[in-house]
Structures are given as C-alpha cells and as structure tokens.
C-alpha cells in the first residue's frame, strides 16, 4: 500500500517538478531591529541553541529512510531515493497539519561561502516544492541555508563532500 502510494507520488512529482520553476515564498517580514544595549557582558558567552527540539519525529517511528536528502555536485535535482523520503514526510505533514519542519540546506566546502549559502537555499527550495506538490502546506515548511558552515564530514575529499551536500528535515515546535 505504502509502496503504491510512493509510486503514484513519484510519478506526480516527476511530472510537475520538471515543468515547474516557482520562485518560492514571497512573504516579507518587517525588519527586526533590536538594540541590545550593553551586550558587552554577554557577547563572550556561547549562545544556547538547544531550545529547539524535534517534536513528533516520523523518521524515528514510521520511516526507515531518515531525514537527509543528498545531492550531486552543483545540483538541486532530487533523486528517486530522495523523492521517496520526501513523499513520506509529505504524507506525515498532510495528516498532521500542526506539524512544522525546517529544511536545512547545506553544500560542500568548494567555492565561496556566501555563494554556497545561495546553493544551500536552492536545495531547500527544491525539497519544499516537492512537499507542496504533495499537498503539504507552505506554512508548515521553512528553509534555512547553512551553506558550507555545518559540514557533517570535515574531510577535504569527494567522500566528505558527498556527505555534506544535503538537505536535513528537522521537525520543530511550530
């Protein structure tokens, strides 16, 4: 049953993604200007980034395929394994409308850092488009690109780079 759904999804995705070049979200937030005043006393301390924890984690319960989609060099194409994985998450998001995910886009270390931020975002958008085509709501999905700043493999070779070109699906407290 799951397999059949996957196949239908994949056919649908292949059809639509190839002919689609939507430019993604256009929502604008107001500028968030905060004067931290005498932040001098606190800047030397590391920031506590542990506030955000995964909520319901479909990968741990209903999926074996995990939450990471890998990409080829200089590419934003999602391969079949990736599409299957995305379809499972889309299924979860549509049946759990309160669920929220963050797509974290990453690249390998080659080339300039800010350009790689741009590439990471493109990968995140490619995944988001597929999720939306599978009826996940745009409000459920945010994208953050870390470019080459958070490698999983710190090596400087093809194997490391392959591990680092990825989109991670992170479930967040919406």
């Amino acid at each position: 049953m799951k397999r059949l759904i996957s196949i239908i999804y994949l056919a649908l995705i292949t059809l639509v993604v190839n002919g689609c070049s939507s430019s993604g979200p256009t929502r604008n937030d107001a500028a968030d200007v905060i004067d931290k005043g005498d932040a001098a006393s606190s800047v030397a301390k590391p920031y506590d980034s542990s506030a955000i924890q995964p909520l319901s984690d479909p990968a741990a319960t209903s999926l074996d395929s995990g939450k990471i989609i890998y990409f080829d060099f200089d590419s934003y194409n999602v391969d079949e394994a990736g599409r299957e994985l995305i379809a499972a998450h889309a299924n979860y998001l549509t049946t759990n409308p309160a669920a929220r995910i963050r797509l974290e886009g990453h690249g390998d270390e080659r080339g300039s850092r800010e350009y790689n931020i741009g590439l990471g975002e493109r990968r995140g958008q490619a995944v988001k488009r597929i999720l939306e085509l599978l009826n996940a709501s745009p409000e459920q999905i945010s994208i953050v690109s870390f470019g080459e700043e958070k490698p999983v493999d710190y090596g400087h070779n093809q194997d490391a780079w392959r591990q680092n070109r990825r989109v991670e699906i992170v479930y967040v407290d919406g």
Binding site: D32, I34, A40, S49, S112, R113, E114, Y115
Partner: protein, 428 residues
C-alpha cells in the same frame, strides 16, 4: 640638527573582551631584490613592554619589500644620531638605517624617539617623537613602520591596521564559532563573539570601528553590526531566508547585502539610519557577495545568471548589470583594490580554487595563490597585499600574498580552523 616633530597617536584600546591564541606570520615565498635595511635595537628603560625595533623590523620584512639585516652583523649599535658612523653601514650593504630610544614619561607613559637615515647620502630622512603608553606601544610601533614604509616607497604602509576573521573549533560534540580581531600581524587577538551556531562574512566599516557579520544564533541567518571596542551590537536585518554578505559603503552610512525574502538571493542596499532597503538586482539567479567600489558608485557582485558564478557590476542606483569576469568557469567573492582598478576574486579552474586578481580595464587575470581551496580575498588598505584563507593539512589557515604574486606568507595558529580574513582600513 635635532628637529623632532611630535605626533599624537592617542589611541586607547579598551578591549572589553577576552584574549585568545595568536596567529604567527611565517614567510613562505621570499622576494628577491628586497631593500637591505638596518633597524638597530632601541635603547630602553629596561621595563618597557615591547621590543619596538623588533616589531618595526618584522613589519618591514612582512611587506616583502625590505630585508632587515641581522643584529648579529651590526658593528655598532647607535641609538642617537651623534653615534652613527655611516661608512660601517655602507660596508654592510645597508641602504637605510633606523635608530631610536624608548624613554619613560612617567607612570604608564613612554616616549619613542626614532630617526631614519639614508646611509649612502649620510642624510636624515625621518625624525619623530611618538608619545605612547604601555598598552598602545605595540600599535604605535606599527605606526612608526607605516612612516618608514611611506618615506621609502612613496605609498602608505598598512601596519597600523587590523584583521578580523572567523575560527571554528570542535568542543566535544559541539562546534564553537568565534569572530576575532587582531593586529594585522596576528598579535593582540581578541574574541569579540562566540557562538555554537555559525558566524560568517565579517566586514569592516571604513573607520575600522564596526564589524558587520552574519550570525545563525537564532537558528537562522541575521546580520548584525558590532563596535569592536565596546562590543555593543545591534541586529540589523533578519528577514525570512538568506540575510548575508554585508558590505559597508565607503561613507559608512549604508550596507550592501543579500536577501532572499523575494524568493531568491538578490542584492539590496540597506540604509543604517532608518533601515530602508533598496533592491538593486532582479534576476532568478543567485546574486550575492556585493562589494563597493572605493568611489561608492558601483557594486561588484557574484551571480550565476550566465550559468556559472561570475563577477558582475552594477550602479548603486540599480539598472543593468554588466559581466566583468570572462576567464575561467568560476569567479566569486570579489574585493576591490583601494584604487578601484583591480578585483581580487576566488577563481575556480580544474577543481582548484585559487585567488586571482583581475585588471578591470584590460580584463587580464593573474592567479596569485597556489592552494586547492583558497577563498575570501581581502586587500590591505594600501593595496600592497591580499590576505585570504587557505588549507594547511586539514586545518584552515590565513595567508597573504603581495598583489604582484611574488611574496607570500602564512599565519599559523593553534586555535582550530581560521577563515574569512578581512583587512581593516587605517585605524584612526
């Protein structure tokens, strides 16, 4: 004649932040034809905190233009003009001679008196008295190096400057990202921000007092500016999507930056007073890494609108962008030379990423570095050197190359991986 001029280098560095591991310069490719110069040890009080003559000699050596002779070869060690015997310096083949004294001026205050002579013409070239203090003696020694360099080369030195850079170290399962500032020679390093989430793209304001940078501390990218002395900081922009690549205008009133709030990365100009935004580029490509021309009229930026990343330029008023780089498949992350005639870029070719300099008018591109993953070129404020990030073994290190590619040096450190160096303008 003892004509001593006085300069007031009033500079009170009140760093409110912690010190960290220093970078050390190591010259990796020498320069033939460097001018032989002698910097004689200055006489001192015995308790001054810095060896001023050693700092000056190291500065001059690090420029690639001068070869200070070893103290061991000096026949005499004059400290005042009356003690100088020119023939013995001619024998050593030295063209110029620097001598001086460090005198106590009470408490933490000192006076550095120095003279420079043309050995062949037996002529005084410089004579200054520099009031200084315990804490600013090292930086004032760099200012003396600037005076010497300018007198001998005709262009200002870039020794009384700083660099900012990002370090990244593993602490157990966590990463520790630091934004650091040091003197141009890696001494006096200070951590101005520490975070478990990435910090990137530091950019100096023209007055050398502020850094703008990108922080992911909120699990998303935001652009901050921070006073490097007081550590006071301010979140400037934090839109949905990319908030990146800040670059100060020469007047310091605006930042060019990259936002993807309209769907894909575009260049904007953000006005600091009032926070208004003006969109400059309009293309479905990645447009990022803006940098201002020194006259403030043009932005150069990276775009893959032609299929692969290349450098383009556009008026700060917007309008049509023109492609600037044509050589090679990959050119990104440009920095203007201070005279506006050249762009340093990351140049990718056959799987190697190296630093190249483009002559904007002729389109001629010279590759200056010899690494495999070199990035983040930044010109010294006098245009003489370019600092950049490279790999040494598995770690990221900083390196500098003269703008003609003939002289190279590396900065080594024990403090994890170092990257994204940016050279400040002259510190006032």
């Amino acid at each position: 004649m003892k004509r001593i001029m006085s300069i007031f280098c009033v500079l009170c560095m009140s760093w409110s932040v912690s010190a960290s591991a220093a970078l050390t310069i190591e010259i990796t490719q020498g320069l033939e034809g460097a001018t032989p110069i002698a910097v004689v040890p200055f006489s001192g009080t015995g308790n001054e905190p810095e060896n001023v003559a050693e700092i000056i000699a190291a500065d001059l050596r690090s420029s690639g233009r001068f070869a200070p002779v070893s103290q061991d070869n000096m026949i005499s060690r004059p400290v005042i003009p009356e003690q100088v015997r020119f023939p013995e310096w001619r024998t050593l083949g030295v063209e110029d001679l620097v001598i001086g004294t460090v005198e106590s001026a009470g408490g933490d205050r000192y006076n550095i008196k120095f003279f420079m002579f043309d050995v062949y013409q037996s002529k005084k070239l410089l004579g200054f008295s520099v009031p200084t203090s315990r804490s600013s003696m090292r930086f004032d020694a760099h200012r003396i190096s600037d005076l010497i360099y300018e007198k001998l080369t005709g262009t200002p030195g870039a020794f009384a400057t700083r660099i900012a850079y990002v370090t990244d170290a593993r602490r157990g399962n966590e990463r520790e990202y630091k934004l650091q500032v040091s003197d141009f020679d890696g001494h006096n390093p200070k951590t101005i921000l520490t975070s478990k989430e990435p910090l990137m793209s530091p950019a100096w304001s023209a007055d050398g007092k502020q850094l703008a940078y990108v922080s992911f501390e909120d699990k998303k990218a935001s652009i901050y500016s921070q006073n490097v002395m007081t550590a006071k900081r301010k979140k400037l922009v934090s839109f949905e999507g990319i908030n990146g690549a800040p670059a100060w205008s020469p007047e310091g009133d605006r930042l060019a930056l990259t936002l993807s709030r309209d769907g894909n990365p575009e260049i904007y100009i953000y006005t600091l007073s009032g926070g208004s935004l003006k969109r400059i580029t309009r293309s479905p490509a990645i447009d990022t890494e803006p940098v201002w021309s020194p006259d403030g009229k043009i932005l150069a930026f990276t775009s893959d609108r032609g299929g692969s990343p290349q450098i383009y330029k556009v008026s700060v008023n917007g309008g049509r962008a023109q492609r600037v780089t044509f050589e090679g498949k990959y050119n990104a992350n440009a920095d203007f030379s201070p005279d506006g005639k050249h762009l340093a870029v990351v140049h990718g070719e056959s799987g190697r990423y190296r630093i190249a300099v483009l002559d904007i008018e002729s389109g001629k591109m010279d590759i200056l570095s010899d690494g495999r993953l070199d990035e983040s070129p930044s010109f010294a404020p006098n245009g003489s050197m370019i600092i950049y990030a490279t790999q040494k073994g598995d770690a990221g290190v900083l390196a500098a190359v003269s703008s003609d590619g003939r002289f190279r040096q590396q900065f080594t450190t024990s403090d994890g991986s170092v990257r994204e160096p940016v050279w400040s303008s002259y510190v006032k």
